[in-house]
Point group: C2
Chain length 426, copies 2
């Protein structure tokens, strides 16, 4: 094999012609595959079907006699609060359990800040005209979208294997208009990185010019491990409390990728003062969340051990898919020189692929034209714009291994074509 | 029996002493009963337990192949949209199906108006400093609370047997700061009145100074009938369309009191343009609602006929309770002169009791002191203040008939005591 980076122009031209021939063969196959979102596959969904067999009245009555089938208990069923307290490593009094969407809880908290602010706010966020929000990149597009919708300027900081670049973050928070930061601390979306202890400690301890600076701590993948047990990220609420900043973080998680996406249970944790404030402001919003679904989850998953055991079943299904992606990249891209790099996550839902600058969009377009839809290049950046046009988010879970193999063959070929085109144009 | 209104003072004093003796006997019984909210009783909840037996994969796959267990389809499952279209009398394209709370949908629409306004808004509602909202009284406290939370002045208009006083409404909407009206058109909360055709037509046709005036049409009790079939209120969307005001109404309903309160399915209908605008603005808010619960409901209820058949089972449970309330009032209050009046609903969840002015709070307090918690007097009015201190909302569904009988004996006695005290103080 040859290193593209050291090839002569003529060789590159020949290579491109050969690659294009292969590409035309792909187009002829008429592939049709959507890998644009991190969706569980059918076999993963089937893992939780037994949860639907929970159908007796007594299943829906809590320990303390609460009938989950009726109105009330905005904060969630006590047993559901205990389950999520275990998952998030906090106490049940610091937890509320919501509906089917943790993104919706996050939206509600940003919306609350916008409308009224928080206990330590001088004024509502909406009255801070040039409000800004820190977005570690690459990150989760739907996070960024929420703050964009509420008129925040999205300020990118670089992600590394230990979390966001804390030098950049500590500098930014000296601006009182910077109101918060989006974090996916465990197996980050899309890199699959885990925040280091030092990152968590610096986030907790840093002085922020805004008294109402908030850390949105979305632990979406906290139990989504590929190894023997989950990686352990330091507890942000504990660390913030230690530094006298206990109202700073709001933690989120959900069972969307444990049981059913869109029919799971979401949860939120914060200091007692913050949680009381949040619940008080949730009162006008709804009578209560779906507590029957909470009970269904409690009966099915039982406790943290039950969750971890269940996640091992997911792992058995999806780990071969992650391995398929990595093997393809190792065998079909690596041999051509340092034309791309990719992450090797120990958990989560994605692999981040970084092409040479200026090649991501072209690569995604090539895949699309041959029938494989990837997440749009740039989607993991504020306003959908990757300044280097380099990052591609690979979501391996939904296709079958066979489909994924085909899609990866195409993706690897597309990376090579985009790279050679780029090198020829230089 | 004697008419209190024509009694001499001395007679009244004697009567009061006799009533107080009966009251003390009640206090000695140590009753403990919460009738504060319109909650279904256990037997009603049990009516829908068969819905939980829907647990096969194929039950959750829609006609068009959509797997309701996975992400996506913010607008709801097509079959759920068809079901709610039948219930609301609109077309499926005008319907979105949401999560467990229609109040939450209403909150979201007010929040959207506050944040951005609507297609026909000159500016967001939040930029209208003295914004106002029309609240037909008595009405639903949780409606009023939403608009209060968003800084609206709540403007009361009187309810009658045909709906809100339209002369008052038509006058109020000449103020461009008046942005909307709360309506419960069928079996209104708490009176149980149904809007007349003329009321609906005037609401649809009236000229409003605000281009973005909205009718919040909460048809919470549209199928909650006590007769042979539901009363039929004219369709507000049709009427508004006829008058060129098709973006004016937003219709809501839910299965909270059809299947499970807090674990039902909510829905919203509006003109295609409004619905598109709403869905576009819901996109940042969540990935999708709980479509598995939507499918569970579709499989269980099937269609409008199925819903009506199911509501007859509710009727069999709750109608005797409404009759118990009316019988008690007829036998234990009516004989003492025109000291109170009450509604005789043909459906819904409440009976409105109107005491002599200044007697409601005292009546509710007397009940509470003897162990029966009613909805707070005044709760059905903006800011919780009934200017006449006359209205009491009776929610008969939750207690057993025996408990209700006891509670009504106490309530009737309390009305008599409060009335006699009032007459003595005059």
């Amino acid at each position: 094999m040859t290193n593209y980076l050291t090839m002569e122009k003529q060789q590159l031209t020949q290579e491109l012609a050969a690659l294009q021939e292969q590409y035309q063969a792909f187009q002829a196959q008429g592939l049709k595959l959507d890998m644009s979102r991190g969706k569980p596959c059918k076999e993963q969904l089937d893992l939780s079907m037994d949860m639907l067999k929970i159908n007796q009245v007594e299943d829906y009555i809590g320990d303390t006699g609460i009938d989950s089938r009726n109105y009330g208990y905005l904060e969630g069923m006590p047993e559901a609060r205990r389950l999520f307290a275990q998952i998030m490593g906090v106490s049940p009094e610091e937890v509320m359990v919501g509906g089917n969407s943790s993104l919706n809880l996050m939206f509600n908290i940003v919306s609350l800040g916008f409308r009224y602010g928080f206990p330590e706010s001088e004024k509502p966020w909406r009255d801070c005209e040039k409000r800004k929000f820190i977005c570690p990149v690459p990150g989760y597009d739907r996070h960024f979208r929420v703050t964009e919708y509420f008129g925040f300027e999205l300020v990118a900081v670089d992600m590394s294997e230990t979390g966001p670049d804390m030098d950049q973050v500590e500098k930014l928070v000296q601006d009182p208009a910077v109101k918060g930061i989006w974090c996916v601390p465990t197996y980050s979306n899309p890199d699959g990185y885990c925040y280091s202890d030092q990152t968590v400690r610096r986030l907790a301890a840093m002085k922020t010019a805004a008294s109402d600076f908030k850390i949105f701590w979305d632990d979406a993948y906290v139990v989504h491990f590929f190894g023997e047990k989950p990686d352990k990220v330091l507890n942000i609420l504990d660390e913030c409390r230690r530094c006298g900043n206990e109202n700073r973080p709001v933690m989120f998680c959900s069972t969307s990728k444990i049981t059913f996406p869109g029919a799971g249970v979401s949860s939120m944790a914060a200091s007692k003062e913050m949680l009381d404030y949040i619940l008080k402001n949730m009162f006008p919003m709804t009578i209560s969340f779906d507590k029957m679904n909470q009970m269904r989850h409690v009966r099915f998953l039982k406790d943290l051990d039950g969750v971890v055991a269940h996640m091992k079943k997911h792992r058995a299904i999806i780990l071969p898919k992650f391995e398929t992606v990595l093997k393809a990249l190792d065998e079909q891209v690596a041999p051509y020189g340092e034309i791309a790099r990719w992450t090797r996550p120990r958990g989560g839902y994605f692999i981040s692929l970084y092409t040479m600058p200026g090649c991501a969009k072209r690569t995604v377009q090539l895949c699309k034209d041959a029938g494989v839809v990837l997440t749009g290049a740039g989607a993991a950046y504020p306003y959908g714009k990757d300044p280097h046009d380099s990052n591609i988010r690979i979501a391996p879970t939904y296709p079958t291994v066979e489909e994924l193999q085909k899609a990866m063959d195409l993706l690897c070929l597309s990376v090579r074509i985009a790279t050679v085109e780029k090198l020829l144009a230089q």
